[in-house]
Symmetry: C2
Subunit: 234 residues, 2 copies
DNA sequence: TAGGGCCATATTGTTGACAATCAGGCGTGA
DNA sequence: TCACGCCTGATTGTCAACAATATGGCCCTA
């Protein structure tokens, strides 16, 4: 049992596993995003700890980190529940995203380094290839899309912004995406918008870059919301 | 020694102490903001635990929460350090604040309830009284200022925004303020700007409200930065 | 029969001991 | 003299047992 667990660690672990809490956090995070831990379900420390082959200590730390990512809500002495992603909640996420990424794009236009501009263009080329090759399979594009947004945040040279977006909000965004993982014709449109944004950034037009990014994100929300409404009709 | 600590806790504790971790977190937070725990200093779990009369468990939880507030930085197996508030860091904080509060103000203009508008006006009246009475003593105004910004966030009806601002960013803002706790003639000016903002909100002009709030915050940063530069000359 | 208070159980909060890991000093050999 | 590796002390990570607290069912009463 113990041995099997240990094995799982070294093989399956995708990246960060310096501590048990890291590993469990990483795993729980994916479980929540993909719905293996259903929304609103209660989290019982002892059960999960046994399930993951660790004691309650590391598991508690993992849960606290998930709380910081807004993936679970905790009430003292009453336990934690997986967050429920209502339409209102998703709307809230997109609003915060719009604000934060709007700012990051504006700052990126001001402070981005030449090398980072080149890398952005390169990234978009790869996206285009992926779209051409896979056509319908939007998944790679989605991963890439996140990458794109994170890189712009990094280009803003604002560490707090990077942390807020990539550690705190990123997982919620992924979760929103997972619920609306369809959107057939969007990738090409998104790519075009991404190009416009990078163009504005490389021309150091922060004001325009911010507007384009905000429009890009609020547009994505419009589409996602329509998808949700359609789902309710099914 | 131990006894004295206990006493301080039960008397000074302003509100939240449902658990030991809550209490210690609250206290450490204040220690960091006021500089009793100096910036960049290493945090040793066992020392702090003994000092606060708790075991390492709750203390670790407290530290993790401080990490979520960006007040400490942690490295696995290497411990935690109190954040150092460089000018760059403060600049980053104000940028994020501008983005988040700009959005909250825009949303507040759209979704605020009549009752909340009344409360905002009332709050500003109290601020005016405080300024008239205390003249130089800016402290109350400062507390009130935070209250003002948080209330607008609440009026936006965006829970994520409220949480991000009041739990995650608020303490960093307080820390910035503590370092530049002078600014003699600012309160009156700030009050005027606050009035303009509430006016725009009550007229449901979200676009203007956002612009005014962003200008208000970036103006505050300009003043704070000048204060910092002057400090370097001393 | 409905409502309210009490008790048992499950779950979280807390603790101290143990194991794993890191940082710095020391000695050894080239 | 310098570089390398080991070793020791300190510090964090992990665990399992204990204490405090909430949830839900039961009984009693009106």
């Amino acid at each position: 049992m113990e041995q099997a667990k240990k094995e799982t660690i070294s093989t399956l672990d995708t990246g960060s596993s310096r501590t048990l809490a890291d590993r469990v956090c990483h795993q729980l995070k994916d479980d929540i995003i993909t719905g293996r831990l259903s929304q609103g379900s209660k989290i019982v420390e002892e059960d999960l700890a046994r399930e993951h082959g660790v004691s309650r200590g590391p598991l508690r730390e993992a849960i606290r980190r998930l709380e910081a990512m807004h993936l679970v809500q905790r009430i003292p002495h009453a336990g934690a529940r997986v967050v429920t992603l209502s339409e209102k909640m998703m709307s809230d996420v997109y609003s915060v995203r719009e604000a934060l990424e709007g700012m990051s794009t504006r700052l990126a236009a001001e402070f981005i380094k030449p090398k980072e501009v080149d890398e952005l263009w390169l990234l978009l080329e790869q996206h285009e290839k992926n779209i051409d090759e896979t056509e319908g399979t939007v998944y790679f594009q989605r991963e890439g899309d996140v990458d794109f947004h994170i890189r712009i945040a990094q280009a803003s040279q604002n560490q707090l912004l990077v942390k807020s977006l990539s550690s705190e909000l990123y997982q919620l965004i992924r979760m929103c995406r997972y619920r609306t993982a369809k959107a057939p014709s969007r990738p090409t449109k998104a790519l075009g918008e991404h190009r416009q944004i990078v163009d504005a950034i490389s021309r150091r037009d922060g004001e325009l870059a911010e507007i384009l990014m905000r429009r890009h994100i609020s547009g994505a929300w419009q589409i996602a919301r329509e998808l949700l409404l359609k789902d309710y009709h099914d």
